[in-house]
């Protein structure tokens, strides 16, 4: 049986087990015994014990099967291949797999024993795992059937299993994050074996070209990431310069001045900005904003490159306005009305009240909103890639073309590459830096927001 029909079989057994468990509990109850739990709890318990272990086994099997089979195949490969390098063995094994499903381009008689062994193994494992999964399910039914008695605490047990299931689900998210972090760390470690961290963090030249072959004429590559950090900083600064004042003032208008009708339409309209795909912003920046800036600059006698940090920063600023405005609007609304009343009661005007009382009270939350917007700005790729260019200039001039960490990660990993060249590994090192920076920003933002919550809840 293949996986899908196995899963369906287990699910059918699970349904049957539920009915069986419930009916057994009812039968016990009908003999005049007092059950500890409701009959449905016994059914659920039986279903859980019938379904969970086989499905878990199936999962482990699916993950472990391929490496084990490959390992067994190595013994069947010709001597010459077995003596070869690990990549030769890998190549031979993929050939065997291809031949086994009949996709072999060319016949390879020397691999024939391995192919036959593979087909044989696949047939046997199929029978083996179908048998094991189904008998595990039946075993679950049988054991739980025997355990169901009037005084059995089925409800408690079901609750604890459910709790563990929920815990496992949340664990998946955490483990994935840890897994990504570990892989980035590992690759970055490899990169720092080839390029010193000092050069990476403090070098001022970024030119990640590496010769792919020994006979190729290419530069040795230099991996000073400072121009990228500077470019990211410059563009994020320009973006925040737009987004923070505009977003904050929009939030103040929406929460303090707008009538409910205006607010009802204006707030969703503003939030639509956040829903526009960044690639749309990107070509808006590259095709509309950048030329306008260049013409403006030229009319004033300034040299503006056609891809400028200013264009990318401006458009990115517009993109993150809703992040600032929407979150700030929420925290401003959370400021108790009693504070506003207190201020009005002293004869303060609306703007004095907003400036002196409401904003200071909401400040921690506003700072949190800005932090989240900053981490969004730092992570933004598409707008920069399209509007700010790829040239790693170390400059503070917003009219020059610059590049950012994220854009370089994209360019490093696009196209043909070797996974052990410093060029490719540099992407992971950049990713690590980016990850750490946004992690710290998010952490600080969360702390600030938490502190704010404690104040009024």
């Amino acid at each position: 049986m293949n996986y899908s029909s196995l899963i369906i079989a287990v699910l059918i057994l699970l349904g049957g087990a539920y009915l069986l468990g419930r009916n057994r509990a009812r039968a016990i109850a009908s003999q005049g015994m007092r059950l500890h739990s409701l009959p449905t709890h016994y059914g659920a318990l039986m279903a859980l014990w019938t379904g969970l272990p086989p499905l878990l086994l199936l999962l482990i099997w699916a993950l472990a099967e391929a490496p084990i089979i490959d390992h067994l195949l190595i013994a069947q490969l010709p001597e010459a291949v077995q003596q070869g390098s690990s990549s030769d063995i890998q190549l031979a094994i993929s050939k065997v797999h291809n031949l086994a499903i009949g996709a072999g381009i060319e016949a390879a008689p020397e691999l024939e024993p391995a192919v036959r062994h593979l087909l044989d193994l696949q047939e046997r494992t199929l029978v083996l795992h179908s048998g094991m999964v189904l008998s595990l399910a039946l075993l679950g039914i049988a054991l739980t059937w025997r355990r169901i008695k009037a005084d059995m605490r089925a409800r408690t047990e079901v609750e604890s299993i459910v709790r563990r299931l929920l815990f496992a689900s949340s664990g998946i998210a955490v483990l994935t994050t840890l897994g990504i972090l570990a892989s980035v760390l590992y690759e970055a470690w490899q990169f720092f074996g080839k390029v010193s961290p000092f050069e990476f963090l403090f070098g001022t030249t970024w030119s990640p070209q590496v010769a792919l072959r020994a006979d190729q004429s290419g530069s040795s590559g230099s991996f000073g990431a400072v121009p990228l950090f500077a470019g990211t900083l410059l563009i994020s600064l320009i973006a925040m310069f737009i987004a923070v004042p505009v977003g904050l003032m929009a939030a103040i208008y929406l929460s303090e001045y707008a009538t409910p009708t205006i607010r009802q339409y204006a707030k969703p309209a503003l939030e639509i900005l956040a829903g526009i795909p960044t690639v749309v912003y990107g070509f808006f920046a590259a095709l509309t904003v950048a030329p306008v800036i260049r013409e403006l600059g030229e009319s004033m006698g300034l040299a503006v490159s056609s891809e400028s940090a200013l264009a990318a920063g401006l458009v990115m600023g517009i993109m993150i306005i809703p992040f600032v405005s929407s979150l700030s609007d929420d925290v401003i609304n959370a400021v108790p009305q009693s504070l506003r009343d207190g201020s009005y009661g002293l004869g303060a005007t609306k703007s004095e009240t907003v400036k002196e009382v409401v904003i200071p009270a909401a400040l921690p939350g506003i700072v949190g909103a800005i932090m989240l917007a900053v981490s969004r700005a730092i992570g933004e790729t598409m707008i920069v890639a399209m509007a700010a260019g790829l040239a790693a200039n170390l400059t503070a001039n917003p009219l020059d073309s610059v590049t950012t960490v994220t854009v370089q990660i994209v360019t490093l990993l696009v196209g043909d590459q070797e996974f052990d060249s410093p060029k490719t590994l540099a992407a992971f090192a950049l990713g690590l830096v980016l990850f750490l920076v946004t992690l710290v920003l998010n952490f600080v933002a969360l702390k600030v927001v938490q502190k704010y919550r404690e104040q009024y809840d």
Partner: protein, 267 residues
């Protein structure tokens, strides 16, 4: 209890030396009328207590006296309220100086998220009452002293006002109101969030403040009304039922509704 038909207020609603005069005041929240035809004088340098069951409109009426109801969009006030003979609902009147003359203390202490000093200095600053730092220091000290808080906070004027205890916070709010030198202070259940000791302090303070200010206080505690006020006004379902000297209201009420309320038959 049904609404009395004739809209007549029993007792002595008017006095000789009125600071505030309310005449035929009605308040509407949208279509719903919350206050019906209330006429009442508040005398200079007296403490008047507004009592009545929950939802009777006493807080709404209080908030009319410095136009705090303006902050509620659907709220509309009819009739007139005269402060020193001038109608505060006249279109020419600016609410900003009005609220500086008629200050307000709220039910829940609401210190601003600022230092103790800045809480007090807030009003004088926005109204430009202090001409120098020394002036401002003086106003802050004087206000805190009048509110009986100076000795407790003089060593930590620059720590946050929210760090004080509930009773101290409420005295801070009173000091904040005094700092803009108002003529009338409106208090909306100023002690309902406080413990008995803090309440006693505030009541003592109200009695002292009477020398310089006119005070209207809304309260749910009849003992408090009896302790701090000279006149008491009893509201019922948006109508002013009875106004009399406090002693008289609590010993020989004129109206059966007043009697029912003060003897605890409802409320």
């Amino acid at each position: 209890m049904s609404i009395i038909e004739n809209h007549k207020t029993n007792g002595a609603a008017f006095c000789e030396n009125p600071k505030l005069k309310a005449r035929n005041v009605g308040v509407f929240y949208g279509e719903k009328q919350a206050i019906f035809d209330v006429s009442l004088d508040i005398g200079a340098n007296e403490v008047i207590a507004l009592i009545g069951p929950s939802g009777c409109g006493k807080s709404t009426f209080l908030r009319c006296l410095n136009r705090m109801n303006d902050t509620i969009d659907i709220c509309h006030v009819s009739g007139e309220i005269l402060l020193d003979g001038e109608n505060i609902y006249d279109t020419k009147v600016d609410v900003v100086p009005l609220r500086a003359r008629v200050g307000m203390v709220f039910q829940k202490p609401n210190p601003f998220p600022k230092s103790i000093y800045d809480n007090i200095a807030y009003g004088p600053r926005i109204h430009g009452l202090a001409h120098s730092r020394v002036d401002l220091d003086e106003i802050v000290e004087k206000s805190l002293q009048r509110a009986g808080l100076w000795n407790e906070v003089k060593d930590r004027l620059h720590s946050p006002g929210t760090g004080l205890s509930g009773g101290q916070q409420q005295r801070l709010c009173i000091a904040r109101t005094i700092a803009v030198d108002p003529e009338v202070i409106l208090m909306d259940e100023p002690c309902s969030a406080l413990d008995p000791i803090a309440t006693a302090k505030i009541e003592e303070l109200i009695d002292e403040l009477r020398e310089n200010y006119t005070i209207a206080i809304v309260t749910h505690s009849m003992q408090q009304a009896a302790r701090v006020s000279q006149r008491t006004a009893y509201f019922h379902l948006g109508q002013l039922i009875e106004v009399n000297p406090t002693d008289q209201v609590f010993t020989t009420p004129e109206h059966t509704l007043t009697e029912a309320y003060i003897t605890g038959r409802f409320g």
